[in-house]
Symmetry: C2
């Protein structure tokens, strides 16, 4: 297969899998993403490796499970030694560039241990998760100094938004009335417009930054650009006209039942008790947020139109693979939950569209794949697309290349996802240990089983219960399924993950060479035995 | 507990647990090691993390399981990012020094990736498994250039041994007769004396190198010295008078039964078919090797006497913890096997004596501990002994400190060991995959269970079958035990191992801090809700 020229790897944050019209949502029109899907493959069963930003992204960027890279919560530094996309693609001659969010926390202690200065090229890339940061912006800039002031604030001020922190009070704030703060953090403001012109809000800004990146190219070196949008992540605030495009008649009702609250699994009960869940269980909250959430997605889709036209005009559409996905979903009150973090489809399943311009992918254009795809599959897909050798000792995912080419063959039988709640209030409620606040999901296309350390499992039968309303984890009659799913997690958990310094080729070569050729003679009685084995004296 | 001044961490290679008189061997007198045991604690149930040199040692030096550090076979580079003893001890002000063998293979690709030059201090330590190498010598120097020429060869030449490679032809060779090569690699020569004066052989040489190290100290900086002897590792050759001290009347007969060969487990059968096993199944081979093996151990014990007197004379015995162990055992024909690599006690169980001079350890002097101890327990023991904080996110072992102080409390319930046979002829015989050529042992003090990827398990009941002659892995009536042991391995395999950049303190601190203090406000409807939660507007 011909190597590609470029890859545009687009990610949204908190974009639930179903919130595209091509995924089946009735009232949110996303014609531009639908058109991309019509030119590529829409992977309908795509799962993230952890339903929370940081760990999910570290898995996207390393091609490895969370249990392997160890960055199991937001802000847990990705250790020096974990290889990222840039480490794999730069040797193939590919510029690996970031515009937007990664949620990367640098392992500064590790860098110091190895004498790696942040001011150097190696240090800067290590600190930025392997990317060359054309612009890093994690999209959360409260006045507390949580993150460095973004370039975006300077942009806003240049446009006349003179607030001290216009990200906070303009892009993510509404016009306050009376003693209101107008801060978009508060959900009651979600259905009011941001205090900013639409073109100055974050989504169009990042789109233009991608255009700036393209304009800045001075040669035709191949690139992978990770264009990583911040939205529809909260603050749930969108500028006019998007803030009131979607009324109640367009909303999908919350997917929840009273039965779920009757005898909930202890971990599920603890998550239901969290503030975000309590909030989203209220109609008033959901009613305020839905217009903003849907409007933010609509704005993204409009920007996708802008972006795709831009690529088309520059002839890049024929040489650029485009991948569109999200780092996780959003409960929005489903299952009486807010945010993400558990393993219902609302949280762990993401949209994934892959458009591959090469002729070899013509056979699958416009199709929908039901293969169990994981976020870690993108890194090997990218390596393969740029003509690199497979790196199964380092990348735990599988290239989607065969699926894009319509090739048949075995695929994985279970999708896996993990969650570490050790730094959350849920752990405090449950009194679990630091090392035992973990869950592991396995999904085989029908059964979704969640191993819960120290608790019974959860189990859903998506064939008879596609809305995941009935937890069979403790129900009699499902012992065999539970045992079989636990065995799948056992198989997964004991895999070789860290044998990363030795390639498959080297293992085969070492295994096929008689030891005595190294001069290390084991078990030979005398010279004749060595000669008989083909050895030289 | 007072911090120690120094630690002398002595390792032998291929020294089987029982081959000390304090361990119960009737005819090998090791009075010096027995005396050390009488002043310290002998851990009678100590297991290595993998019954083969490199992986076992990488676990000793990292304090982590093989599945965690990934160096699962000899010569598989330990990846940049894995922390070793030096990384943990130097911040405590401890010089961490090597004399002898580590079997370390540097991750040169990883070092290059991060711009770490081998000529720098950081690079040199990374390449030497975290040690400052006073003298590195892995003890295998055939003429093939398998390893760099050792300093020891220069020493031998300075003593008048003018051979091109006196390690090969003198220290590990015998006087050839007729057309013999006299090379000690060939087992038929094992019962003849090495062509070298006893004082010039490897074991006394390394002892003197330790003395040189002590003499070279110019201040009283604390040190950990890893004095890592090469013997009794093959070539099984020892100089006079040690070569004929032990006749047949002193040998423990081979521990094997015809029943073992009747219906062997497929992996066991493949190991029995290996050259070293076929050799050691023959009486002639065993009879030739036993005098050398026992003589080599006797020589080590004599050198221990020299060493301990040297320490005593310099007043170091009161300020130095002494640890004596081995990287794995040696089948010597037991179970129809040679070498090591499987999980019978002959292979996976090692001698372990810990002498702690501090008064807090007085209560346990001369005692024998039956606790299930693992090789990875030494690293945390050393960190604690030098006054360092526990590092459970990085070190998977447990400090032996509480056992040395005679404290009661919970201990681990299962010892774990692993083996990856992907580069061995066994894999070729069995046709297994690169990633599925693995075994994992769990031992609970009675049952020894070996998970064999792709095959049935092995199971031994050491209560009724202490010689491990009956494999119950497929026997009816033991289903519950097998399920329980498999569950123990499952629990072990899914542990957090890579969350190494985040300390327990940081996890507790993060978990106890309300998220809203960071300025990230999740799930708040309005300003009042935030105020009610104690937040500031």
């Amino acid at each position: 297969m011909a190597a590609l020229q470029n890859i545009l790897f687009i990610m949204c944050d908190l974009l639930r899998w179903v919130y595209l019209s091509c995924s089946g949502l009735p009232h949110l029109m996303t014609p531009n993403l639908d058109a991309l899907a019509a030119r590529g493959v829409r992977f309908d069963k795509a799962f993230v490796q952890s339903p929370i930003c940081g760990p999910s992204r570290m898995s996207f960027y390393t091609g490895r499970y969370v249990i392997s890279h160890g960055s199991s919560w937001n802000g847990f530094p990705l250790k020096v030694g974990e290889m990222t996309l840039g480490d794999h693609l730069r040797p193939l001659g590919v510029d690996t560039v970031l515009i937007g969010k990664t949620h990367m926390a640098a392992d500064r202690e590790g860098m110091k241990r190895y004498g790696i200065e942040e001011g150097t090229l190696i240090g800067a890339r290590l600190a930025e998760c392997g990317f060359d940061a054309f612009e890093r912006d994690d999209g959360l800039h409260p006045d507390t100094g949580y993150a460095p002031p973004p370039r975006y604030n300077a942009y806003l001020r240049s446009k006349g938004y003179d607030d001290a922190n216009p990200w906070n009070t303009r892009a993510n704030g509404v016009e306050p009335e009376g003693d209101e703060t107008g801060l978009g953090w508060f959900l009651k403001y979600s259905n009011r417009p941001a205090r900013i012109a639409e073109e100055d809000s974050e989504t169009p800004y990042l789109t233009r930054r991608f255009m700036d990146f393209i304009e800045s190219r001075t040669d035709d070196t191949p690139w992978l650009c990770h264009l990583s949008y911040i939205k529809p992540h909260w603050p749930y605030i969108v500028p006019a006209p998007y803030h009131d495009m979607y009324g109640p008649e367009t909303w999908v009702p919350p997917n929840r039942s009273e039965a779920e609250r009757a005898d909930p699994h202890p971990i599920y009960a603890a998550f239901m008790a969290q503030r975000a869940s309590q909030s989203f269980a209220k109609d008033a909250v959901r009613n305020a947020v839905m217009p903003a959430y849907m409007g933010l997605i609509k704005q993204i889709d409009d920007q996708m139109g802008v972006l795709f036209r831009f690529l088309e005009e520059r002839g890049l559409m024929d040489t650029t693979m485009i991948v569109f996905t999200s780092d996780h979903g959003d409960y929005l009150g489903d299952h009486w939950l807010g945010e993400k973090e558990l393993f219902h489809d609302a949280s762990v399943r993401v949209p994934l569209i892959v458009y591959d311009p090469r002729a070899e992918a013509d056979a699958t254009r416009g199709t929908v794949s039901d293969a169990l795809v994981e976020a870690i599959d993108l890194a090997p897909t990218f390596v393969e697309a740029f003509g690199g050798a497979a790196l199964p000792h380092r990348l735990e995912g599988r290239s989607l290349g065969p699926l894009l080419r319509g090739e048949s063959g075995p695929w994985r039988t279970h999708a896996i996802s993990e969650y570490d709640y050790s730094v959350t209030p849920v752990r405090q409620m449950l009194g679990t240990g630091q090392d035992t606040s973990t869950m592991i999901m396995a999904f085989d296309g029908r059964w979704k089983y969640i191993h819960c350390e120290g608790f019974p499992p959860m189990l859903f039968d998506l064939e008879t219960d596609p809305d995941e309303l009935t937890d069979l984890g403790r129900a009699p009659g499902h012992e065999a399924v539970r045992a079989s799913m636990a065995e799948a997690i056992f198989e997964w958990s004991r895999r070789q993950r860290q044998r990363t310094t030795v390639s498959p080729e080297r293992i085969d070569a070492a295994g096929s060479r008689p030891t005595h050729e190294s001069g290390i003679l084991i078990g030979f009685w005398d010279e004749d035995e060595l000669r008989d084995a083909g050895g030289e004296i």
